[in-house]
């Protein structure tokens, strides 16, 4: 019997053992009720719970779906981000298995996405790269080296070359979770650019020859290791006439000339010869391992051959030449600066010797340069101190022996060295550009002096080709005339042929500007230079000054024919003629007989200070003896 009914019977039984059926029935009935109630409660709670669990489950499903969508979106963004990186990217777990890899990595090495996918071991990836030719080392060694580095917590850097010539930089960096992240970057372009930058720093852009910096670098190295019984030579090469090509044919032609020279020099260079362009029209060659001087001479010969080879440029047949200076180590020094300076001095000497030649360095060159530099400084100081003077030499009419005017000539009394010849300081002033300042000073001084003169004596002033090129000559003449109030017709400018040799058109334009001012223009030193008669045709000079050398030759056999020719040409073009350097009365008479207009020389008067010429002019018309 069920233990409950046993209890119920016991409860319904009295002390005498009589069972109260009604009481028992009530207990049993109550028990049924309790069971029913409990069943209903259980049913109800179970179904409610199922409903609730269902709601919770749906909520969870919704949440999972939302989270999944979010994760998917995030994964998509992540994929876009990593697959659009230019770098290859891989993430490995702590067991060296791939977690993530981007497209760039696969593309970089041409790998198969079927093989390189999450779960693959590092070793298998490297092995696959080996198969495809994208890895050329030892697979196991590489993996071992990487693992070793990562175990020590180090970031490992590698660089690898692909078979198609690209350079890839690889960085493996440990991450906190125990794996590592690897980035692969194609640095080919960067390396190329770096190499280009290095090249630009050491090579000349126009000729692609090593530049001054690299030349110095290499020279320093070579100077440090000259073998005993061997020599090293430095050749400084200055291309003559480069400036005139540049000026007449333009910069492009000048550039082509330099490129051509560079190519020719390079083609002539031997294994022990290092060529560089130092800048402008200057090249240099370092010759090493020289046994004897003949080898240097041989190189110099080849250099001249190369440079003198004519070349075509924009339809022009251009010929060039060079001035070459040579310094030899250890004879001329073993210090970089010293050997460079000496080569430069030697080149300068070659130039001074009339260009188109070469010179070995000599100690005297140094002294000359020093003296020249001293002179330049003194000229500057003299301009500041006003220690230049203007002397005047009268010009005399051969017709009536009367003074027609005077030529202004600059004189310099150096405080220590006494009188210095214009032949010494004028070239230095021209080279340094100081002639502009000096010429202007002479012009202004002479114009003022001329205004103190009685009558209307003419004033002749020399103009340097350098002044002619300055572009402001006409302006300065006009200013001097205005400042002194000297009538323009009294001023005569003397120019040399050198003015006309280059820039014909530009020079002619200036001459016409001057002519427009009303000043007279004389061609000086005619006969010493090219003496091209075409000059006389191209510009209507007022006067031709016949150089003293022709005057000296008058006494010789046939010596008068040139003077005669000049006088005839001048007469035909209404030009006057003036003979310079007349020292004897015989010369004067010959000139007069030849029909020359005027003369100038010691026969009448040497150049004299301003005060003396003033007295001479004031003393009235003086006739030559």
């Amino acid at each position: 019997m069920h233990r409950l009914i046993v209890k119920q019977i016991a409860k319904a039984t009295d002390a005498a053992g009589v069972v109260d059926i009604d009481a028992l029935a009530e207990l049993v009935s109550n028990a049924y009720d309790e069971f029913d109630r409990d069943r209903r409660r259980t049913d109800r709670s179970m179904s409610l719970m199922i409903e609730e669990v269902d709601v919770v489950s749906r909520n969870l499903e919704g949440l999972v779906a939302k989270r999944s969508a979010e994760l998917q979106a995030q994964n998509l963004r992540f994929d876009i981000a990593i697959n659009n990186m230019t770098q290859g990217l891989l993430l490995f777990d702590s067991t060296s298995r791939l977690i993530v890899c981007n497209q760039s990595y696969l593309a970089m090495y041409g790998l198969s996405p079927e093989i390189v996918k999450p779960g693959i071991a590092l070793r298998d990836i490297i092995a696959h790269r080996k198969e495809t030719g994208a890895f050329n080392g030892d697979v196991d060694e590489y993996c071992a080296a990487l693992s070793r580095g990562l175990r020590e917590g180090k970031t490992c850097h590698f660089q690898t070359e692909t078979p198609d010539g690209r350079t890839i930089q690889i960085v493996n960096k440990p991450v906190a979770s125990g794996g590592w992240v690897a980035t692969h970057e194609d640095i080919t372009e960067r390396r190329r650019t770096e190499a280009q930058i290095r090249h630009l720093a050491h090579y000349d852009a126009l000729t692609d020859l090593p530049n001054r910096a690299l030349f110095h670098e290499r020279l320093k190295e070579e100077l440090g290791r000259i073998a005993p019984n061997q020599q090293l030579a430095v050749l400084y090469i200055d291309v003559d006439e480069f400036k005139s090509v540049n000026d007449t044919l333009g910069h492009q032609a000048g550039d082509e000339l330099l490129q051509s020279v560079a190519a020719s020099l390079s083609s002539q260079a031997g294994p022990n010869e290092f060529i560089a362009r130092l800048g402008g029209d200057e090249f240099a060659i370092m010759q090493t391992a020289i046994g004897n001087q003949a080898e240097i001479i041989g190189l110099v010969t080849r250099v001249f051959e190369a440079i003198r080879t004519p070349f075509e440029c924009f339809g022009h047949h251009v010929t060039t030449d060079a001035s070459v200076g040579i310094a030899v180590a250890p004879k001329h020094g073993t210090d970089l600066d010293q050997i460079l300076k000496n080569a430069d001095l030697a080149m300068y000497a070659a130039k001074s010797a009339g260009r188109r030649t070469w010179r070995f360095f000599e100690p005297a060159m140094d002294a000359r340069v020093k003296a020249r530099r001293m002179l330049e400084m003194d000229i500057r100081q003299a301009l500041l101190d006003g220690t230049f003077e203007v002397y005047y030499q009268p010009c005399v009419s051969l017709e009536d022996n009367k003074i027609t005017g005077c030529e202004a000539l600059v004189r310099w009394r150096h405080p220590d060295r006494g009188m210095i010849s214009p032949a010494d300081f004028i070239p230095v002033a021209e080279e340094t550009g100081l002639i502009n300042e000096l010429g202007e000073w002479v012009l202004n001084t002479a114009c003022k002096d001329a205004m103190t003169w009685p009558g209307d004596f003419k004033l002749a002033v020399n103009v340097s080709p350098v002044q002619f090129k300055s572009g402001t000559l006409a302006l300065k003449i006009a200013a001097a005339l205005a400042a002194s109030r000297l009538p323009p017709r009294r001023l005569e400018l003397e120019i040399t042929e050198a003015v006309l040799i280059r820039d014909d058109d530009a020079a002619l334009a200036v001459l016409h500007q001057l002519r427009a001012l009303g000043v007279r223009i004389a061609l000086d030193d005619f006969g010493t230079g090219y003496s091209s008669l075409s000059y006389l045709q191209r510009f209507p000079f007022d006067k031709i000054k016949i150089d003293r050398c022709f005057v000296n030759d008058l006494a010789t056999q046939g010596g008068s024919s040139i003077v005669q020719a000049v006088v005839n040409i001048a007469a035909a073009r209404d030009m006057m003629t003036l003979a310079e350097g007349v020292e004897t009365s015989e010369q004067r008479e010959s000139l007069r007989a030849l029909g020359c207009s005027e003369m100038q020389g010691f026969l009448f008067s040497r150049p004299v200070p301003a005060a003396d010429i003033l007295r001479m002019l004031q003393s009235g018309p003086k006739k030559a003896a």
Binding site: K7, Q8, L27, E34, R40, R41, L48, E52
Partner: protein, 383 residues
């Protein structure tokens, strides 16, 4: 130690007679509110046991060994060989005074030789958790504290407690056991099954629960109880106890039982705290597993008693009224299961309560429990 059981019923009065009643030091008695309210039972006992401390309370049913009855008043008269006793009682003005009340009783009972405390408290005007915590704060957590909250059947109207006085509302009584001879074992277990989804306590204040998962707590209960059982609130809420725990400390789980409902505010008042933010889950009972829970509590008490098997033992069983409401006539299954574990020779007295007091089976910290069977076993050694 020696204990003897006597019962009272309307027809026969107190039975049987007690030997050496003048030596009885302690009397426990439990009865319905109706049976105790007049104070006559107390006075009869006082006359029988002039030297004893007499404490008892109203119940939701009395346990007399394996029987559960609503009619009889059950009592146990106990003699001790060497154990000293001290009884302290305090009026309690309301739930908010619970901690102070507990602490005051604890202070009075405190003593170097205090070996354990058994506490009976008003079952309605108290926050049992605070009362227990207040008392533990005074006696320390190493002294076992057991007991229960008085009951009032399924009515929840008024509960009575007496301690050397006639039973009355708003009284808390503690008896302290002193000396080295006394052995006290205790156990507590529920046997309820968790069911349904975990819910979050989204609004609560102390022991008042407003919302679970943003829904009024009372709505949830009414839905689960159905229209018929809902009429029986708050008593019927005992059919679905609630287990609460700090989400970060799952081991701290305690079961809470309902003391009252507020239909207007849709709130429910529990016998202990239901902290906001904690996780809550409904529970339901299965007769067999509830009985197994009672057996478990008895096993714990016996194991903790640490006394010789043939020493005289006496156990007080305090079980939750909710268990009785659910089990109906099957309720004796659990008293029998406990009795089987404790042994027939052990005198077992007890009552169905509105809250059980016992150290937590896992944490060992004394707490107020609901919906459990708690067993406190006493023995005296060396006497």
């Amino acid at each position: 130690m020696h204990s003897q059981q006597i019962t009272w019923n309307l027809h026969a009065g107190w039975n049987p007679a007690i030997e050496q009643p003048e030596k009885v030091a302690l009397v426990f008695y439990f009865g319905t509110r109706d049976a105790l309210a007049c104070g006559t039972r107390y006075h009869e006992l006082r006359k029988m046991f002039p030297k004893a401390h007499i404490l008892g309370c109203s119940t939701g049913g009395q346990i007399n060994n394996s029987d559960v009855s609503d009619e009889d008043v059950v009592a146990a008269a106990i003699r001790f060989d060497s154990t000293r006793l001290r009884l302290v009682s305090r009026q309690i003005s309301g739930a908010s005074a619970s901690w102070d009340c507990g602490e005051a009783i604890g202070r009075e009972l405190s003593d170097d030789e205090l070996a354990g405390v058994f506490l009976l408290s008003d079952g309605l005007n108290v926050n049992g958790s605070d009362l227990v915590n207040g008392l533990v704060s005074a006696i320390g957590s190493t002294v076992p504290l057991t007991g229960g909250l008085a009951g009032d059947g399924a009515d929840f109207n008024e509960t009575l407690v007496g301690g050397d006085c006639a039973p009355q509302p708003r009284l808390v009584v503690g008896v302290g056991f002193y000396g080295k001879a006394i052995r006290i074992g205790h156990g507590s277990a529920g046997g309820w099954d968790l069911f349904g989804p975990r819910r979050q306590v989204t609004r609560s204040a102390g022991n008042i629960l407003f919302e679970l998962d943003g829904e009024p707590a009372l709505d949830l209960y009414e839905r689960y109880l159905g229209p018929e059982d809902s009429k029986g609130l708050p008593g019927s809420a005992l059919l679905f106890p609630i287990q609460v725990h700090d989400a970060e400390q799952p081991d701290s789980a305690v079961v809470r039982t309902v003391l009252a409902v507020d239909r207007d505010r849709r709130s429910m008042t529990f016998a202990g705290d239901v902290p906001q933010g904690w996780t809550a889950q409904l529970m339901r009972g299965n007769f067999d597993r509830l009985a197994e829970g009672a057996a478990d509590a008895a096993r714990q008490a016996r194991a903790g008693l640490r006394s010789a098997k043939d020493d005289h033992q006496f156990s007080i069983l305090v079980s939750c009224i909710g268990r009785r409401l659910l089990m109906g006539q099957h309720v004796s299954d659990e008293t029998e299961a406990a009795g089987f574990e404790l042994g027939d020779e052990t005198l077992r007295l007890g009552f169905y309560s509105y809250g059980e007091i016992s150290p937590h089976a896992k944490s060992g910290i004394c707490e107020l429990h609901n919906q459990t069977m708690t067993v406190t076993s006493f023995a005296e050694v060396g006497g």
